[in-house]
Symmetry: C2
Subunit: 135 residues, 2 copies
DNA sequence: AGTGAAGGTCTCAGTTATAGACCTTGTGCG
DNA sequence: CGCACAAGGTCTATAACTGAGACCTTCACT
């Protein structure tokens, strides 16, 4: 069975449950990975444990607010763990949990696709944006 | 080289360009896949060409506005093509372009991970949410 | 006493999504 | 004839979410 058909038939399954967000894995699990920062954070943690401030500096344009929020979500979903060290001021370290590490493979595949397709997408955009000044 | 390290070293590369969204493939290409509906649309199209109305019904809780917007983005990025048939009222068909079809494999891998991890994530959430009423 | 770092939280504005009304063209129905 | 409806969208008003930046607490250093 091709990827195409495999996905299509899964979609049919999900549709039968009306894509109920509480039961559909795509919507339930992947939605978080969408929020623009989460993926980046997971990748940043691929290199090993990182502290809050390090992550903040690694991803220059994330705000602390969003960073905190994404980290909480990841922790809640069991993808990362949070360790507080009782130094003063206390320092906090985040690291991938097993579940989070298991995501690295699939994520890597997707990222390879993104890198391979990057130029095609850019070209397509130029072509598309070149059309409108017509009529 | 492990997935872990591969990703980590890519992240280092991107960081060197300060994760500039115009050049970083993840941010540039994958961000669209994030917007909650796009992935679903791509999967829906995996089964073959679909018309606007069909897609709208396939994904019950998407609004026409968002559907239109996502479809435009996908078309702009060259992942799908749009065909208008001069019937009346005109009907419009969307189908995956080659580039879009090439995404199906990577996406499938991620979705398999999501399905496999779904229960673990749900469990983790319960555990996490069970903690707060403390102190 | 003042300053800086640690890891956050809070507020306010600005951005983005959503629901739902509305538009246009043409066909079927009574 | 006159009305409703389907197609594929667009427009508007409201709701939700984001991001910038101020603020908090505890120490060490000067």
């Amino acid at each position: 069975m091709s990827d195409e058909n495999k996905l299509a038939s899964k979609f049919d399954d999900w549709q039968r449950m009306r894509l109920d967000p509480t039961r559909c894995p795509v919507r339930n699990v992947l939605d978080h990975l969408s929020d623009k920062w989460t993926t980046l954070i997971v990748i940043a943690l691929a290199g090993g444990p990182r502290r809050f401030g390090e992550l903040n500096r690694s991803i220059p344009d994330i705000s602390k607010r969003m960073l905190t929020q994404c980290l909480r979500n990841l922790e809640r979903d069991g993808l990362i763990t949070r360790h507080v060290f009782p130094t003063s001021p206390p320092s906090v370290e985040y690291r991938l949990a097993d579940l989070g590490r298991s995501l690295l493979g699939p994520l890597g595949v997707l990222i390879e696709w993104a890198e391979a397709s990057h130029q095609s997408v850019l070209d397509a955009r130029l072509r598309f944006d070149g059309i409108p000044p017509s009529t």
